[in-house]
Symmetry: C2
């Protein structure tokens, strides 16, 4: 059996909000009146109410629901580029826009990204100060997912924000995991978003919804984004399956981000006690982190399949190779983690540690 199959057979997982089955949608629909009217090409109560709710939550004038962040973020950057009359924007070399979107931002919007910092660390004030000030927009991803969910200090954010405002550089927040960082910063969404001109948040990371995103900013920005949403083919006649589930799981989980963060720190410490394992960051600053293992991917795969079968607990369905002798996987703590008893957790990590020691001898 391969790792992905073995993972699917586990009945509990360290990460996430549970399996992505049709039940996730059915549960969200359960208490919705069947006679509720669909949204209609971006209008109607179901979409407008949710947009207003999120605009308030984020402290922005207006918000618009998008099918995906992959659609919303290049549009945000394009709007700021058009306003300044340049194509240059800046983001991290491991930004979603750079590595996961098939070059959509370049192919469709001809954006010219300047890559700040290097792949191993977050963007710091010095990177921004040294950047060509003629960029239209700087995009910051908080936390920086591809390096385990790292964050700059809040003071750094404030300084970057103040500098960008002074220089007429718009600041876009890639807040796919915005809610997940609030406990570490000890700030509200309004406070963090107040540093940015425009903000994207996702509903299927920590929130655990089906799909969908919100893009928020001032009214003019949001109105323009609706035109681009139609151009992209995202102004669907009905988006309510995503909106209803986003709203349902937002209400259910917005207050749980603190416990996810605490869970991530606890879980990371279990991992860090194992032979040959180190988490990135060493102490998480959100609900997520990466688990780096000093063994070849294939070795760890076989080992994990065995552990899943023995414990019924899944750690990951996918390992990423770093070098021929090391690999990593991502952990995002959600509701699932709290379902695992302490003794089971200890037993799991006893297994993991022992298996690693056996392999490393």
């Amino acid at each position: 059996m391969n790792l992905s199959e073995a993972f699917k057979k586990t009945n509990r997982q360290l990460s996430g909000q549970g399996k992505r089955t049709v039940q996730v949608l059915k549960e969200a629909l359960m208490n919705v009146d069947s006679e509720t009217e669909s949204d209609y090409y971006g209008t109607g109560q179901v979409i407008e109410d949710f947009q207003n709710k999120l605009a308030r939550y984020l402290g922005k004038e207006a918000a618009v629901f998008f099918p995906s962040g992959t659609m919303a973020q290049p549009i945000a950057l394009r709007i700021w580029c058009d306003q300044k009359g340049v194509k240059k924007i800046a983001y991290h070399p491991l930004s979603h826009l750079e590595i996961h979107e098939e070059d959509g931002p370049k192919e469709l919007h001809h954006l010219e990204p300047i890559l700040l910092a290097d792949k191993s660390r977050v963007i710091e004030l010095e990177d921004v100060l040294a950047m060509d000030p003629d960029v239209a927009c700087l995009l910051l991803e908080l936390p920086q997912r591809e390096i385990g969910g790292q964050l700059p200090s809040y003071e750094t954010l404030e300084k970057i924000s103040a500098y960008c405002r002074r220089k007429g550089i718009k600041l876009q927040l890639d807040g796919a995991r915005l809610l997940e960082i609030l406990p570490y910063y000890q700030k509200t969404a309004v406070e963090v978003c107040g540093l940015f001109d425009s903000v994207y948040v996702s509903f299927y990371k920590g929130i655990g919804g089906l799909a969908g995103a919100i893009l928020a900013g001032d009214k003019d920005f949001v109105e323009k984004s609706k035109v681009w949403k139609r151009r992209h083919g995202g102004d669907l006649i009905s988006l309510y399956p995503y909106i209803i589930s986003a709203d349902y799981y937002f209400d259910q989980r917005v207050t749980k981000m603190g416990s996810y963060y605490e869970g991530a720190k606890e879980l990371a410490s279990y991992f860090n006690k194992c032979q040959g394992i180190q988490t990135l960051p060493l102490e998480p600053v959100s609900n997520m982190f990466h688990v780096h293992i000093a063994l070849p991917k294939e070795t760890v795969e076989a080992m994990f399949v065995d552990i899943y079968e023995k414990t019924g607990i899944g750690m990951t369905g996918r390992l990423n190779e770093v070098t021929a002798t090391s690999c990593y996987f991502e952990v995002s703590v959600g509701d699932q983690f709290s379902l695992i008893q302490k003794e089971e957790l200890q037993q799991l990590f006893d297994f993991v540690d022992k298996s690693l020691r056996d392999k490393m001898e």
Copy 2:
């Protein structure tokens, strides 16, 4: 009360598949196992099975599910343009791409449309023969929605197809309402699609699903379209709410298109017996037609509100002004029409005819 509100209060409608409420989704989910796994960024059984089913139904090598036709069609044209190394494409001046997409095809893909025929009629062979043969792709919308759903003859289609093949011009079918025209042509979907290189069909017109589209063609074309789907932000982690409902209502209604077509002809004849009304086309060639009324929009609105209140039957929620003294609305026959008894229908049209005569005196 305005027309839209009055229409929503009617308990039966001449057009359509019923009100677009959350019940439409709930019904489609009813018999789906809760443990069914979500699709995952374009992979997984729920999406692959449906894509394969539709590829077979349309007689194409492969198919891909899109959130919308507004996303799928410019992508199809872009692929054919890239293959030929030109930006020129051709379509009708009232094509969806020209009038309903905020210039997305031009703004995102820099397509250079050549408009064939004039706004009052469909594209004929002569238009194609006279066209710059250096276009990459000709898009034909069957039926031509904005002129009441008109169609060229099937022989014309065959000749256009043969000509385009000879000249190396790709032919894209805007088949948003493909199923709806098969009874008139007396052809299968495979036969019609065989004339085209690539095909788009929609699932929320005659099929009455939530949203979503299929784009079909050869394997290479479909693989390229998946890359563009991601670039557009349409490669969602979960598209299953649309896929499950598309599949459910497709099965339920694919065999009903003949009765919708017969219903449309019957209904059009009722309208055409009324003073000051003429349908376009005079005899429908699909389930749809336009109803043109020789009275000012405001006059007809007030009249219709009154008729809806008296009969409980809605004819339309929206009138479109043609001139200061004429207006029209669209009718698409679906399941709703069959719920109205003959006597009620006769009573409704007695009302309509009498009201029109009163106004026109």
